[in-house]
């Protein structure tokens, strides 16, 4: 079991996370967005709805709404800020890096990455039951970047973290 103390809690619930939880950035939905995806975490009821406009391979605008715990909301809020203006490939790289950091396969202080401020979420790797809270927005972004029906229709995608901590194919299955 993970060994967490009060100071570790301050490490996890840093002011920046609490601030994004209180005042999420890019909150809402984009009218006429060409990419949508929804993410659910049935275990705790987290629910994220993401909408984006992708033009010429670039994320022009992105917004989210829904409800969730502080970790999930702050992760979504900071994610939207981090990928806005990025190319799809760069956003996808960040999805991979964030997943790696949250599941402990990427050490953000010693391995190359583009996570920047998102490193505040590194602490979740010690809390297996919370990894999926942090990752959910990123899965949702991944789903929006890879629409099942094709972007022309403005497809609805849905991703769930029931059972697997990290449900992207090839990812490790997390225990409950």
């Amino acid at each position: 079991m993970s060994d967490t103390t009060s100071s570790d809690m301050r490490q996890l619930y840093q002011e920046v996370i609490l601030d994004h939880n209180r005042k999420p950035r890019n909150w809402g939905s984009i009218l006429g967005a060409n990419r949508h995806a929804e993410g659910h975490n049935p275990l705790c009821g987290d629910h994220i709805k993401l909408s984006m406009n992708v033009l010429d391979d670039k994320i022009e605008s992105i917004a989210f709404e829904g409800h969730g715990c502080a970790i999930c909301k702050a992760s979504a809020s900071m994610m939207t800020g981090a990928v806005k203006g990025k190319s799809m490939q760069d956003a996808e790289t960040m999805v991979e890096e964030f997943r790696g950091m949250a599941t402990g396969t990427l050490d953000p202080d010693n391995q190359d990455n583009h996570l920047g401020k998102l490193k505040v979420f590194a602490g979740v790797k010690d809390l297996p039951s919370r990894v999926k809270c942090a990752i959910l927005p990123w899965h949702t972004l991944h789903a929006a970047l890879h629409p099942v029906l094709g972007p022309a229709e403005g497809s609805e995608n849905s991703v769930s973290t029931e059972g697997a901590a990290d449900p992207i194919p090839g990812a490790e299955i997390g225990g409950q």
Binding site: S6, M9, C44, G45, G68, I71, C72, S129
Partner: protein, 413 residues
């Protein structure tokens, strides 16, 4: 019978000594285990019984003539008698061992529901049910073209009895009802509700998963047709549960699973099913777990279910008073009659964050929808934090919970 045990106050310090896990340190703090509604802890007596069974008594049952098989069979069947007495069933053959409450309910859905419920028939459940007492009936309704009717509740989490009674009509064929709500702790007036259903000729299954560990049970007095509960919520191991059924109901039901032990004779043309309870216990059962459940019942009865009930009520009253007086904290589920479950929410903080921060203080609570999403929807919350108590919890542990809640509030202020 339970009532025969003398009423006395509990020596909780002595009781705590019976549970090795309660000595555990979690995150450098003494474990405060308040997740008993999910699963209770196991006393040394039950652990020892498991070790003794596996070291000295194990074999398959109901089969061979050798010493170990006869011994294991005897212990297994004695455990059935212990369960019978614990719930005051008329006969031990009315006790079916299952994998847990969920399997017990599914057994009734398959064995009774599929045989006796058809197109247009109505099944009544309540808004308080655990998913285990919703989904099987939904599956049956879908398969048969039957209709699910739901008893609504008030803002305290109490079922509306007038509305319950109004649901009955000529098409009503079954009532599946929880005895005690796992999410809110509400104790339903099941005896009165069973009597009403019977007036309309409707059989009743009670989900007793949250009741069996906490109170004196008498299925004959309740007069329910079926009663389901789990071993691991009452100091026993996982993998064992009980379905009580009135003999005349079980006898007219179809088997749930086919296999060994549930037959009298098999040819390729025809199989003759065994009598109850064997008819419903296909394959090798969880022998060790059943015997350990028997030992758990012995342990609970040495304390006395009435004593446990009274003490837990005291704990719940104390916890409710302490927590509901905190600013920014709301207790969800304020029924007049409640068992040792306290769901709550802290304003502005998601239950999952509450659970993580309390865990860092060594406090184990459950956070989430408690497999009762319709209850969450009724109270317009995605999830709650839930502290649930057992007879080995103390008021000082509740004080630690209060301190922990304050820490959560400070962090999120």
């Amino acid at each position: 019978m339970n009532a025969a045990y003398p009423k006395r106050s509990l020596d909780v310090e002595k009781i705590r000594g019976d549970f090795p896990i309660l000595k555990l340190q979690v995150n450098g703090k003494p474990l405060v285990y308040l997740d008993n509604a999910a699963s209770s802890q196991m006393p040394q007596a039950v652990i020892d019984r498991i070790v003794r069974y596996q070291s000295e008594e194990h074999s398959n049952i109901h089969r061979a003539v050798h010493y170990l098989s006869e011994l294991a069979t005897k212990e297994f069947e004695e455990a059935r008698v212990k369960v019978q007495k614990f719930i005051n069933a008329k006969e031990s053959r009315e006790v079916i061992f299952t994998r847990g409450t969920t399997e017990a309910i599914n057994l009734v859905m398959h064995g009774y529901g599929r045989a006796f419920i058809g197109r247009g028939d109505e099944i009544i459940i309540s808004g308080l049910e655990h998913h285990a007492n919703i989904v099987p009936w939904q599956m049956l309704a879908e398969e048969k073209g039957a209709v699910l009717r739901v008893i609504p509740m008030n803002d305290a989490g109490e079922l509306l009895i007038d509305e319950f009674e109004a649901l009955f009509n000529a098409k009503t064929k079954f009532l599946a009802l929880t005895h005690v709500s796992n999410a809110l702790g509400t104790i339903n007036p099941v005896k009165q509700m069973v009597a009403f259903a019977h007036k309309h000729g409707v059989p009743v299954l009670l989900d007793g998963a949250q009741a069996a560990p906490h109170q004196v049970l008498d299925v004959q007095e309740l007069d329910c047709d079926f009663y389901a509960f789990s071993g691991h919520k009452m100091c026993g191991p996982t993998g064992i549960g009980v379905l009580y059924g009135k003999a005349q109901m079980l006898e007219k039901m179809q088997p749930y699973q086919g296999g060994g032990d549930m037959i009298l004779s098999v040819t390729f043309e025809k199989t003759t099913y065994n009598v109850i309870p064997a008819k419903f216990e296909a394959g090798t059962p969880p022998i060790m777990a059943a015997i350990a459940l028997g030992a758990a019942i012995d342990y609970l009865q040495s304390i006395g279910m009435a004593n446990i009930e009274a003490y837990e009520h005291e704990l719940l009253a104390y916890a409710t008073e302490q927590v509901s007086s905190m600013p920014g904290v709301r207790v969800i589920g304020t029924a007049k009659h409640k068992a040792a479950v306290m769901s709550f929410e802290i304003k502005g903080v998601h239950p999952h964050d509450v659970g993580t921060i309390l865990n860092s203080e060594g406090i184990a609570i459950r956070t989430g929808h408690h497999c009762a999403q319709p209850v969450m929807q009724r109270f317009h919350v995605p999830a709650t934090a839930r502290a649930s108590f057992a007879f080995y919890n103390t008021k000082s542990e509740i004080d630690k919970l209060v301190v922990g809640i304050r820490k959560v509030q400070e962090m999120f202020s």
